[in-house]
Amino acid sequence: MNKENLTVLSQEKLTSKIFKMKLKGASVKTMLTPGQFVHLKVGERHPVLRRPISICSVEADILTIVYRVEGQGTKLLNQKAAGETVDTLGPLGQGFPLTEESTALLIGGGVGIPPLLYLAEQLYRRGTKVKVILGYRKKEEIFLEEEFQKYGEVIVTTEDGSKGVKGFVTDAIAEAGAYDVFYTCGPKPMLRAVETASSKKGYISLEERMGCGVGACLACVCDKQKPFEGKAYVKACRDGPVFEAGEVIV
């Protein structure tokens, strides 16, 4: 666990609300596992809490994150200009385990998409066949599609049908064909739907509201499906955000 003031290299607008930001610093070299996240302090005194954002990709000492401007915190993040710094804690949590299986299906929705890019890259490098389903609300909100195409076949779904398959990500699973393992990240209803739709082994990444981000405050607990060794819960920030499908109650 490191805390470092990473230097902003660039901000790039991907859609009306989604931005790609590049940050540079020594601690980035320790961000090795896709699915882990960084915890960002976006202002000096305000806001009080840090913001969890997934690692989207890493090249040497340069971290890329992709975030949606939602509320106060992401707005402040968006105001950071090149040369300014962002107090960054990370890498935090447990990321996606890289499978030994031959075909992996990655299913992402909304701001659950970014962490899958780093995963896609690493799987591709290991020789795993990568298939990707990316879910958006509409055509104008599509981002990162081309980046994923470098690593495998990409199916896009849009709720309004303005591009790709009309509907939700689950509507495209059949079209994706055979796979051995799935990885998914996105809003909870999507995670539930994917868990239900797939009988394969899989990994899900959960979003929970966080306090400390390091495992000390118990803000982010999730109940386990079956208590194991007396433990009935896990902490999304430390034991997760990635869990094996079926391990926790989503």
Binding site: V48, R50, D87, G211, C212, C217, L218, C220
Partner: protein
């Protein structure tokens, strides 16, 4: 004696700064950031006699200069804590203030009995002020008679000094403080969180699953300072002050209000290095202020003294 050293019942501290209960788990996580020997003491997460699952999530919400939490006293139960959590802390030379809670007087007595026997527990903190549980907690914290009764009962069984953690959600906190002092409390911790709520206007529902939660952070600091100022003039037991402390200057403010030590909660979430940073800065600041020991400052705002500080 160093500038920072303070001594309170049961707690011989190399500096007056401890992480606040519930904001530091049992220390393991923050030990990855720095050496816990740096701390004056550690207030560990509340223990109840039985295992508690706590409240559903979301359990935290952010507010202006503060946060709401409704963890709901989730903990593995006092026996598990005594057996599996506290021993790990033995390798540090730091006294432990063990926070306990319960639904009934018997619960508190049971928890106190068991936890006060742990070799590294140097004092107990009675959490009579948790706003996030349906029964117990808050009642004991708002009725002077009940709080006094509870204090007496716990004092009888505890092998270490007993601090009572007061709730700010009362009309008259001085009355509460006086009642527990009379009942034998060795010290006070104040303040716990203010009951608050945040509503998500997109859904129309409270953000927290528990609906209400406890407000902490810089937003509540003026309330904490005022209450410590009032209570410290009426009791003669020491006060561990807390509520929004983020900087060494804040620590000085709490001492001047009447505190004899402080606890840091929410600030740990903003910066995992908050406690050691505050301790280092505090040493510097006291040097600049020409203060030979921080306890000279306790109650400075209401005590008369020869000359002003600068």
């Amino acid at each position: 004696m160093s500038r920072l050293q303070v001594e309170l019942p049961g707690l011989k501290m190399k500096n007056p700064v401890m992480p606040a209960s519930g904001c530091f788990g049992f220390g393991q996580e923050y030990a990855e950031f720095y050496d816990l020997n740096k701390l004056g003491a550690v207030a560990v997460k509340a223990a109840t006699p039985e295992t508690r699952a706590g409240n559903p999530t979301p359990r935290v919400a952010e507010t202006e200069s503060g946060m709401l939490n409704a963890i709901g006293l989730q903990n593995p139960g006092v026996d598990h804590i005594v057996k599996n959590e506290l021993p790990w802390l033995e390798k540090f030379h730091v006294p432990i203030l063990a926070n306990i809670a319960g639904k009934t007087e018997e619960d508190y007595v049971e928890a106190a009995k068991r936890i006060s026997r742990s070799s590294n527990v140097h004092a107990i903190e009675l959490n009579v002020s948790c706003p996030n549980v349906k029964e117990g907690g808050l009642q004991f914290g708002s009725d002077p008679g009940m709080a006094a009764g509870l204090t007496k009962a716990v004092k009888k069984v505890s092998e270490v000094p007993v601090y009572v953690k007061l709730s700010p959600n009362v009309t008259n906190i001085t009355e509460m403080a006086a009642a527990v002092e009379a009942a034998g409390a060795d010290g006070l911790s104040m303040i716990n969180t203010l009951v608050g709520m945040k509503i998500d206007i997109r859904t129309g529902r409270p953000v927290l699953a528990n609906k209400t939660g406890g407000l902490s952070g810089p937003a509540v600091k003026p309330v904490a300072v005022r209450m410590i100022y009032e209570v410290s003039q009426k009791v003669s037991i020491p006060i561990i002050g807390m509520g929004g402390i983020y900087t060494a200057e804040d620590v000085i403010e709490f001492f001047m209000a009447g505190a004899s030590a402080v606890a840091v909660g929410t600030a740990n979430f903003s910066d995992p290095y908050a406690c050691p940073q505050i301790i280092d800065d505090l040493d510097e600041l006291l040097k600049e202020m020409n203060v030979s020991n921080i306890s000279e400052l306790t109650g400075r705002s209401w005590k008369s003294w020869e000359k002003s500080l600068s």
